[in-house]
Each structure stands twice: as structure tokens, then as C-alpha cells.
């Protein structure tokens, strides 16, 4: 972090890698390049190395693996390198992990959508197997034997016939002279053979995290950096019309006040604009900002009131909308039904803020030539999306992409917020203005008031109940301001992305089915948050299924399993459904897997056991991000309505799993994330301005408010890997609310539960 950038602009090459390789004189490296025929770099001292590689093996045997996805708590900085090391037949203790900067040659780096393992599992295996094959061939040449007799395991190639063996380091130079094997020539290891994948190695950063030495974006530093905070308009899109720069500059430590342009058009990833105060300490910058007393101009969103908006959304959801999926004849089924057989419900989930414990922050340093022209920019930031940060900074500074280097620190949580690099651009603009490195920090109030919020949603569900209470017809409709409104002004209809997150892919077996969406305007920036539209869709769908079961006097588990219907791949022919970009042949909507996790979670929880009055279990299951998850939640509701959560049971089937303990950790965390949004979190607005500002008004779950025990089982599977990070969140809130209904008879249809009356008896 101490390498100065040069006046010719940063060169996004070599540094990290040369540092990583230390004094190694010879390197075999597998480049990212175009798959499947990966190129191998060879040569001494590697003067022309670029960091577009996944793996480098030095002549001392040290393996350097590039982590190109961002670490925000999922463990991806450990688990993807595990795949490389496993297939290489490496000794994990001789592997080191280097974080890549933003670089398109590495492939996609946008760490969201729970897709890091899914998208890169195979490429990482190819990288490892390519290098291992070359090492095995080099050893075979040395011994004059057939390469088929030589096996690379535990950092050595062994001739199985003679027992001879050589350390990988001793073979690097010879291996690098060989032809690169074609993809078809590679023989992959059997599951478990590499000894790394499927084990619970400690996180790469574990000791640094408990010692406090790990570097987050908050901790990134440049010599002579200034600290900045920015006053932003409480109402989206208003520009400052007056402020007291002198008062701010009078605060000791403040060195400058800079007005940032208010964004025009769609928000995109542009900074919001406002007035920045720069100082020699964070505290001085904050004090200076307080003194600014900014007056804000007008905004088209000044009339936004979330209470009125909630009513409008409910009305929209109750009116016919755009049809996204249709089977049978829903209208005829409802027309023929007796009133007593029709059940209807409206659900609501408010705007949510990401609130990662580390708020947005970034350091930027800008390079100038002797005429004062900007020639380059280097940033250090906690970003989920370094390539978007690179592009957006380049655009804002009118630089070529390659003149911007984005270094990725650890992220103190991301949850989707840090996919949007507006805060990185703020740092870059201010560093250019001041001619000095600048660290921008969002205070918690900034974070809560100016987020890219998870969309507020209203849902309407109705069904005709037939034999055993099972639905013969089912209509479901959602209305929410779409994420596309952040990228195209005026966009107000849900897209295939959002509708495919737990709505168009409804897995229930119902003869007459219609899925609709209604329009809604955005008055704040809307963005994706962990699990995205699955949150409100699963809340509505899984709650409604439970309502139907209870209305029919059925056991909710038994009813749910019947609703899932026969084991099958759900037929979505003719439905506009993206399936996260994966084919439905490889990743079908498989009700057998959903049934399995549901039955297993119920068994773990002891479904059906006797519980004292006020205590009950609730269940929900949901497929998202190509994986399957079921939750059983146990609640206790006292007669005066006090809620606690003694336990939760989670089963996930994510196909092939790299690091089972991190999958468990993600499920535990998802249960707590689900607790927050189910019980406490709500963003509301009045006069266009968000009313919450910190953790006192935007509540997230505390230790004693969360499930006291969380038991997780990970289904052992060799199916292709699915997502993990987001999969546990969607079923939690409905399972919790279903448990509440069972415990006290009160149905929660509006989140958060907050102070809704749960008293009984």
C-alpha cells in the first residue's frame, strides 16, 4: 500500500504479482485468458507479467493464487483459491492468496448474485489441472516414464510404479517449457482427492481479522491524505442553493470546501452531489460539515410520503397488472368458486437499507503531468465491483480505463451496497480537486439516508381452495419500484430479473395460475440488496401457502409438500424467466430438491412435537440463486405479545460445496439478516426525505433478539454448484411469521413486525 503512483499514471500491472512472487526466479503461471485453452506464461524473473492470471507457481514451490472476487464475508477469497489449489494437487500451506485489482481480463468481478463459485468453479479447476498436468509431464520426462504413471498430489509428483517423487518447485522450470495441454487432455481429480475442497480450512484473513490488522476500506491510507465527508441532499436530486463555507473553514483542521455537481438524469453510479468538507482528520471534517448549514433547492421527489405510497402500492397490487406467467384459466376458476373457497391476502415489505457495518468509503489519489493535466487515478476501496468502479472513475475523470487502478480492500460487509461505486467516484473527484489523496467516509447517517434501497413492495395473493384445501387457482401480483429506475429515469415496471426472483418460477403444482406485476414509481435510488426481490416474493408466497393450510385446518408441512406436488422439473416453457443466466437443463427448478430440504429441516426441528402454549414452529422453503433452502423457526410469544426466537433450523442444497463451514456460516448469518428485516428494519420517508438516520431508528437485530440457536445442514451433492450467500435469507421471514401465526394466531402481513400486537389469550 505504500507504492507511490507515478506521473505517467498507474500501471495496473506487475506490482502485486512481483511482490507476491518475491525472489522466485522462475514462474509457471496459468493466465485467465480465454477459456478453455489457457495460456501459460513462462520465463525468468517474469518482467512482462501482467496480473491477469489465476495461478503462479514459483521455483521455490510457492503457489500464488489470485482472488479476483471481493471478500465481504462469504469466504470467497478463501474458497475459490481452494478450488485452484485442490485441482493443482497443492499443499494448502504453501499457497498464498493475492487480491486482484479491477481487471477485465480476469473475467467478471462483480461479486453479487451469489455466483462466484458457480461461474468460476470450472475455470479454477481448469487452471489448477493445467498446471498439475504440466508438472506431471515434466516429471515423466525427467524419469523417462509415461506421464500416466505420474500423479501430482500434496505438492509433489510421484511415480506410482517406482515411488520416486519430486517437489513441484523442482519441476517448475521444466514444466514451463512444455506445450500447454488442451482442455480435453486434462484429467480432473475425483471429489475429495485433492484434499482441500470440501474441508474447512481457516479463512485466509482469519488471524488478521481477530488481531485487527486486516485492512478494510476504512483503513486504507495514503501519505498526506485528507479526510472528507459530504453533505448530500435529504431529498433525491436537490442541489445546494446556499451554504456557509466560511463557517466550515473556520473549524480547526478543515482545509477546504468543495461543491460536487448534483447528478443529472438517472442516478446510475454517479455521486449524488452536495458539498464536501476536507480536513486533516475525520472529526474535523464532520465538524466542518455541521457548520455548513446547507440550504437545498427543489426536487421532483419532495412530495414523496411513504405512508401514502404504501396505500397506492396496495391498490396497484390489487388491480390487474402485466401478466408474466399463465396456466389454465384463472378467471374461470375464480368465477366458478364459492365465496367461502376464495382466500385473499395483501402483503407489504418496506424499503430496506443495506447498512453494512463498514459504511461506504474510499481513498483516491490522482496523478498529474507537469502541465497539471490528470493522467491517472488509483483508488483503494471496499468494492464488490472493481470493474464498475474503474469504469465510473474513468468516466468521471475523463480518463482511459487503463489509467485507473482500483485496489480492492476487504469489505466490512457489502450486501449489494458496495456494487455501486458512487462513493469511489466522490473520492476521485475530490482528490483531483485538491491535488492530494482524499479519503471519503460516509457516516452512518449518510449511509442510512442516501442508500440504493431495497425496493418497497406490495403483494396481492388470492386462491381458490379445493379438495383438502389445496388451491385449484392461484393469482399472485407484486408491485415495486424497479431497480431499472436507477438506470433509466421513469422506469416503473418490474423486469424479468426481479420477477424471476421467486415469482415467475413459483414451484407449486397448481392447475390455474397467473403471475402479474404492477407499476410503481421510484422516489429514491433503488438497488439490489442481499436476496433482492426474493425477499418480498418469498414473504408473500410462503406466508400465503401457510395461510391456506391453516384456513383448511391442515398441517402446514404436509400441506406445503402437497403444494409442491410430484417430483418434477417445473415447466417454464414460454415464460420469460432468466434462471440467473443458467440453462434450465443444467439448473432446472427441481421440486424434488425443494421437497428434500423441506422434509429434512422439518425432521431436524422435530416437526409435530408438543410445545407449550405460545411456542410454535413455522416452515418455509424457497429456491433462489439456483439453490434450495428450507427454514424452520421456533418462536415464543408471551401472552402480552413479547416475541423471542429460541431456535432455527436450516437446510441448504447448493449442489457442490467448496467450504461447508462457510456455507453454514452464511446460513446462520442469513437467519439473522432475515430476523432484522422481519422484526425491525424499515425505511420511511416524509417530504421526500428518509426519516431514519442511524441504528436507533433503522434497527437491525441484536444478539438476544436473533435466533438463540441455529442448526444448519448442508446437503451433500455433486450437482453443479448453486448460490449460497443470498439463499438463506428469503425463507426466514415467512417461516418466522408462520411460526407466530401458529403460536398466537396473529398473521403478520406487513413487515417489519416491530410493535405489531402479538398478544393472545
Amino acid at each position: 500500500m505504500s507504492t507511490p503512483i507515478t506521473s505517467s499514471g498507474p500501471r495496473p500491472s506487475r506490482r502485486a504479482l512481483l511482490a507476491a512472487l518475491g525472489g522466485a526466479s522462475f514462474v509457471l503461471a496459468v493466465r485467465a485468458g480465454a477459456s478453455p485453452a489457457l495460456a501459460v506464461l513462462r520465463g525468468s524473473a517474469a518482467p512482462d507479467f501482467e496480473p491477469d492470471l489465476y495461478l503462479a507457481l514459483a521455483s521455490d514451490g510457492t503457489v500464488t493464487i489470485i482472488a479476483h472476487r471481493s471478500e465481504m464475508g462469504t469466504g470467497i477469497r478463501t474458497s475459490l483459491p481452494m478450488v485452484v489449489a485442490d485441482e493443482l494437487g497443492a499443499d494448502w500451506d504453501r499457497c498464498r492468496i493475492e487480491q486482484a485489482p479491477g481487471d477485465r481480463r480476469l473475467g467478471d468481478q462483480n461479486t453479487d448474485g451469489s455466483r462466484s463459485v458457480r461461474q468460476f468453479y470450472q475455470r479454477m479447476r481448469v487452471a489448477g489441472a493445467t498446471a498439475r498436468t504440466m508438472l506431471e509431464r515434466a516429471a515423466a520426462d525427467r524419469w523417462g516414464v509415461d506421464a500416466a504413471e505420474c500423479r501430482g498430489r500434496k505438492h509433489r509428483v510421484t511415480n506410482e510404479a517406482t515411488g520416486d517423487s519430486l517437489d513441484y518447485g523442482e519441476l517448475v522450470e521444466a514444466a514451463a517449457e512444455l506445450e500447454v495441454p488442451e482442455r480435453e487432455e486434462l484429467v480432473f481429480l475425483a471429489p475429495g482427492e485433492g484434499g482441500i475442497v470440501g474441508t474447512n480450512v481457516p479463512l485466509a484473513d482469519l488471524e488478521g481479522l481477530v488481531r485487527g490488522t486486516a485492512t478494510f476500506g476504512l483503513d486504507a491510507r495514503r501519505d498526506d491524505q485528507l479526510y472528507a465527508v459530504v453533505a448530500r441532499s435529504p431529498v433525491l436530486g436537490a442541489a445546494p442553493v446556499g451554504y456557509d463555507a466560511e463557517a466550515a473553514e473556520a473549524v480547526p483542521g478543515v482545509v477546504g470546501v468543495v461543491e460536487l455537481p448534483t447528478f443529472q438524469g438517472a442516478p446510475l453510479f454517479q455521486p449524488l452531489g452536495g458539498v464536501a468538507v476536507l480536513a486533516t482528520s475525520t472529526w474535523a471534517a464532520m465538524k466542518g460539515r455541521e457548520a455548513l448549514a446547507v440550504e437545498w433547492g427543489e426536487s421532483e421527489h419532495a412530495d414523496y410520503d411513504s405512508v401514502a405510497y404504501e396505500e397506492e402500492l396496495a391498490e396497484t397490487a390489487r388491480a390487474p397488472g402485466k401478466v408474466w406467467r399463465e396456466a389454465g384459466d384463472v378467471d374461470a376458476a375464480f368465477a366458478d368458486a364459492g365465496e367461502a373457497d376464495v382466500h385473499e391476502a395483501d402483503y407489504y415489505v418496506p424499503l430496506l437499507a443495506h447498512a453494512p457495518m463498514e459504511p461506504p468509503c474510499a481513498v483516491a489519489e490522482v496523478a498529474f503531468d507537469s502541465d497539471g493535466n490528470v493522467t491517472g487515478c488509483e483508488v483503494w476501496c471496499p468494492t464488490q465491483n472493481p470493474q464498475a468502479a474503474q469504469d465510473t472513475v474513468a468516466g468521471a475523470l475523463e480518463l482511459e480505463r487503463d489509467a485507473v487502478r482500483v485496489n480492492v480492500t476487504l469489505l466490512g460487509g457489502g450486501f449489494g451496497r458496495k456494487s455501486k461505486p458512487d462513493y469511489v467516484v466522490e473520492a476521485a473527484l475530490l482528490a483531483r480537486e485538491l491535488g492530494q489523496p482524499v479519503h471519503v467516509l460516509w457516516t452512518r447517517e449518510d449511509d442510512i439516508r442516501h442508500d440504493y434501497y431495497h425496493a418497497v413492495a406490495g403483494l396481492h395473493l388470492s386462491a381458490v381452495q379445493g379438495e383438502k384445501g389445496l388451491p385449484t387457482a392461484w393469482l399472485q401480483r407484486s408491485a415495486f419500484p424497479p431497480i431499472s429506475s436507477t438506470f433509466a429515469p421513469g422506469a416503473r415496471e418490474g423486469g424479468a430479473g426481479e420477477m424471476g426472483l421467486g415469482f415467475t418460477n413459483l414451484p407449486y403444482a397448481i392447475p390455474n395460475l397467473r403471475v402479474e406485476n404492477g407499476p410503481a414509481d421510484a422516489h429514491v435510488r433503488i438497488g439490489w440488496l442481499r436476496s433482492v426481490a426474493n425477499i418480498y416474493h418469498a414473504f408473500g408466497v410462503c406466508s400465503f401457502a401457510d395461510e391456506l393450510a391453516r384456513k383448511a385446518g391442515r398441517d402446514p408441512l404436509e400441506f406445503l409438500l402437497e403444494l409442491l406436488g410430484p417430483d418434477r422439473h417445473v415447466d417454464l416453457a414460454g415464460v420469460r424467466y432468466g434462471n440467473h443466466g443458467a440453462s434450465q437443463e443444467e439448473y432446472p427448478v427441481d421440486t424434488a430438491r425443494l421437497r428434500h430440504v423441506t422434509e429434512r429441516a422439518a425432521k431436524m426441528a422435530g416437526w409435530g412435537r408438543e410445545l407449550p402454549a405460545g411456542r410454535a414452529l413455522g416452515i418455509a422453503c424457497h429456491r433462489s440463486f439456483l439453490s434450495y433452502c428450507a427454514n424452520v423457526v421456533e418462536v415464543e410469544v408471551t401472552k402480552d405479545g413479547k416475541l423471542s426466537i429460541p431456535a432455527a433450523w436450516v437446510v441448504i442444497d447448493a449442489g457442490t460445496v467448496i467450504h461447508p463451514d462457510r456455507v453454514k456460516a452464511q446460513m446462520e448469518g442469513a437467519a439473522v439478516f432475515g430476523t432484522s428485516l422481519a422484526r425491525f428494519s424499515e425505511i420511511s420517508a416524509k417530504g421526500g426525505a428518509v426519516e431514519q438516520s442511524n441504528f436507533d431508528s433503522y434497527r437491525i437485530a441484536r444478539l438476544q433478539e436473533s435466533p438463540q440457536e441455529i442448526e444448519v445442514e448442508v446437503v451433500e451433492s455433486d450437482a453443479p454448484p448453486g448460490g449460497v450467500g443470498e439463499v438463506g435469507v428469503p425463507p426466514f421471514a415467512p417461516a418466522l411469521c408462520n411460526a407466530i401465526a401458529a403460536a398466537c394466531g396473529k398473521r403478520v402481513r406487513r413487515l417489519p413486525i416491530a410493535d405489531q400486537d402479538l398478544s393472545w389469550g
Binding site: 483503513d219 482528520s281 475525520t282 447498512a355 457495518m357 459504511p359 460487509g413 442511524n694
Partner: protein
């Protein structure tokens, strides 16, 4: 100039006495293990020990420290060693993103100094002010029990 003792060392800093200890530690003394989370003593990310008590450094003016000794994560264990709480945190794989964990560890170590074998109610009381957005709470509780056992 304000004098303070941090991790056994005396420092003099040129700071506004109103400046919270957190920013003195991070921006003036370069001790960046302690994190910023809310600025209002609502989340516990900035927890340090002041006179042995778990204290939110974001809301304690440095001028009000007096002669109380400050211990940060950098001084929790002797150089090169790990505190039993840190070892238990590693054993249980507590951290996910890890950002809040320094504050969690400082709260937990202060708790164990006072209650070597804390009950769940005592853990709730001591740890309820430390938020974790990743949701590592069940492992935090388990790790505290392990650390308590290890100290017996």
C-alpha cells in the same frame, strides 16, 4: 496538547479535546484496528477498554479521558500472542466480513475479565450493544463460552 496512555504507551496529541477517542486512535495515532460504525455508541464497532471497562470510543471525548489507561485491540495480548478470546474466535470461525469483530472481541474480553464464567444472560447484557450485520451471534456466544472454559 492532550496526554493519553494507550496500550501502555504515553502519547501527546494535538487535538480538539472534543475529538472522540476513536478518531484520535485512528487518525492521529494510526491505531486502525478499532472501527467506526455509527458515531453514536449504538453499534459497538469502536469498543476499546478504558480503565478496564468496555467503552464506545466514538462517543468519548479524548479530553474527558483523564488518566485512564486505554487498551485497544493492538494491545489486547502481548506482542506475538493471542488473547484467549481471540483464540476462541478463530477456533469457532466467528468472523464473516470481520469488521465488527474487533469491537466484539473487546466487549467479550472485558466481560470475561469481570465474569470469568458468564451466564447467557450476562453475555446478552455485555454483548447486546455490539451489532453484527453478518449475523455471527450464535458463534460469538459459543466462542465466549469456550474462552471462559479456557481461562479456568
Amino acid at each position: 496538547m492532550i496526554e493519553l496512555r494507550v496500550n501502555g504507551q504515553r502519547h501527546e496529541v494535538d487535538a480538539d479535546p472534543e475529538m472522540p477517542l476513536l478518531w484520535v486512535l485512528r487518525d492521529l495515532l494510526g491505531l486502525r484496528g478499532t472501527k467506526f460504525g455509527c458515531g453514536k455508541a449504538l453499534c459497538g464497532s469502536c469498543t476499546v477498554h478504558v480503565g478496564g471497562q468496555a467503552t464506545r470510543s466514538c462517543s468519548l471525548a479524548v479530553g474527558g479521558l483523564g488518566d485512564l489507561e486505554v487498551t485497544t485491540i493492538e494491545g489486547l495480548a502481548p506482542e506475538g500472542e493471542l488473547h484467549p478470546v481471540q483464540r476462541a474466535w478463530m477456533e469457532h470461525g466467528v468472523p464473516q466480513c470481520g469488521y465488527c469483530q474487533v469491537g466484539q472481541i473487546m466487549s467479550a474480553s472485558a466481560l470475561l475479565a469481570k465474569h470469568p464464567e458468564p451466564s447467557d444472560a450476562e453475555i446478552d447484557e455485555a454483548m447486546g450493544g455490539n451489532l453484527c450485520r453478518c449475523g455471527t451471534y450464535t458463534r460469538i456466544r459459543a466462542a465466549i463460552h469456550t474462552a471462559a472454559g479456557g481461562e479456568r
